[in-house]
């Protein structure tokens, strides 16, 4: 089974960049003041999901 990828809920993201700074895959970009996950690079490690101070990052499909 393919692991789900991290997914940023755009309406919640406040653009602090914390997720980008800890992503070991360099898979997150800030686009128009919202963090966006690049699915192809994400390895589902969950570091960004846990780091987000307001819970704006979850899993794709949820």
């Amino acid at each position: 089974m393919v692991k789900p990828k991290a997914f940023v809920k755009k309406e919640k993201c406040l653009a602090c960049g914390g997720c980008i700074s800890v992503c070991p895959q360099d898979a997150i970009l800030m686009i128009l003041s919202k963090a966006v996950v690049n699915d192809e690079q994400c390895n589902s490690c969950s570091i960004c999901v846990k780091t987000c101070p307001i819970g704006a990052i979850g899993w794709e499909g949820n």
Binding site: L14, G17, I20, S21, T51, P53, I54, G55
Partner: protein, 396 residues
Amino acid sequence: MKYDAVIVGSGPAGSVTARFAAEAGAKVLIVERRAEVGVPVLCGEGISQKVDRFKVLEGKRWIATKMEGARIFSPNGTKITLSAEYAGNETGYVVYRDIFDQELARGAVQKGAEIMLNTCAINLLKKDGKIKGITARHFDETFEIEADVVVGADGVESRIGKWAGIQTTLKPYDLETCVQYTLTNIEWDSPYCDFFIGKHVAPGGYVWVFPKGNNTANIGIGLLASLSEPGKAAQFLDKFIAARPELKKGQPLRVITGADPVAEPIQSVKDNLLLVGDAARQVDPITGGGLMNSIEAGKYAGETIGKAVEKQRFDTQILTEYETHWKKSFGKKLHRNYVAKEIMLDMEDKTLDMLADSLKDYKFEEFSTLSIIKALVTKHPSLLVKLAPLMKLARA
């Protein structure tokens, strides 16, 4: 377009670098991906009064309040006070970071720097393996900006360093993940900046209350990302506020998130590329404060760029002067406080209460973390074994 230096990011590190480089005669461009300098604010907005010495800010519009001192509350509420009265009256300010940043940028422009908004650096421009500037995007237009020096002042999430091969990815235990409300209608009339520590308050971090005047304050929390769960920072902050009648009636004027590197100092020069500010991890690992360091490092970076332009030499040897300068000035302090951070993380709440109790009547003569460390060692010779590396570093 050809510049002597292109600076990515218009925060304090970028603007101050631009200011001093421009003042030394360099042709400087700042690129900023956002639509307004300093907005949105991503900061607790506290800064040491030492900022006055750098003479980079005019007037007082950027100041919300002048702090009377700081208070630290241990898990059981024991209070340590660092008062202006004993600290030579030099404490700090709570600032309006949007105005603060715009004043710094205005200062840079007065010295000749240019600013390009809504412009995002998307890669380094390289020719024959050498850094020749950046590729940038302005809405749907992509173009090259040539420069002899590239400065990454692009904050905690810095990509400029990565593109040059400097390892800037943070480990979760080297990042504080933060939320802050600016609350008004609170009954918190203290002129002190307050810090609350303890595992039940803020695991691996602290809650702060920084007064801004008119019954308004910044109330924020930082948690170590390695101890964080999704949304935990916001939950802990809400819990803190709900438990305090003087804050509970407060209404939010602003909510922001933040990410604060609490890491060891890193390499800040590679070929003709410099990193400054949060991008270079120039943040105190104990307090999470980085404004003052960014401004100091920005000054050194700008001056070094000025010299490089004058000599028309853009090699590592000449630019390393910048790194030598900032590491000599405050690099050791950052390393020492990184070690102190690790020791503090190991401490149980009970230990923190005991230490706080022993310092509750102490009259600190300096407004700094070093003065607290020194006092702890004086009071607790038994702690010397644990704190020995700190003392060695304090003397260094």
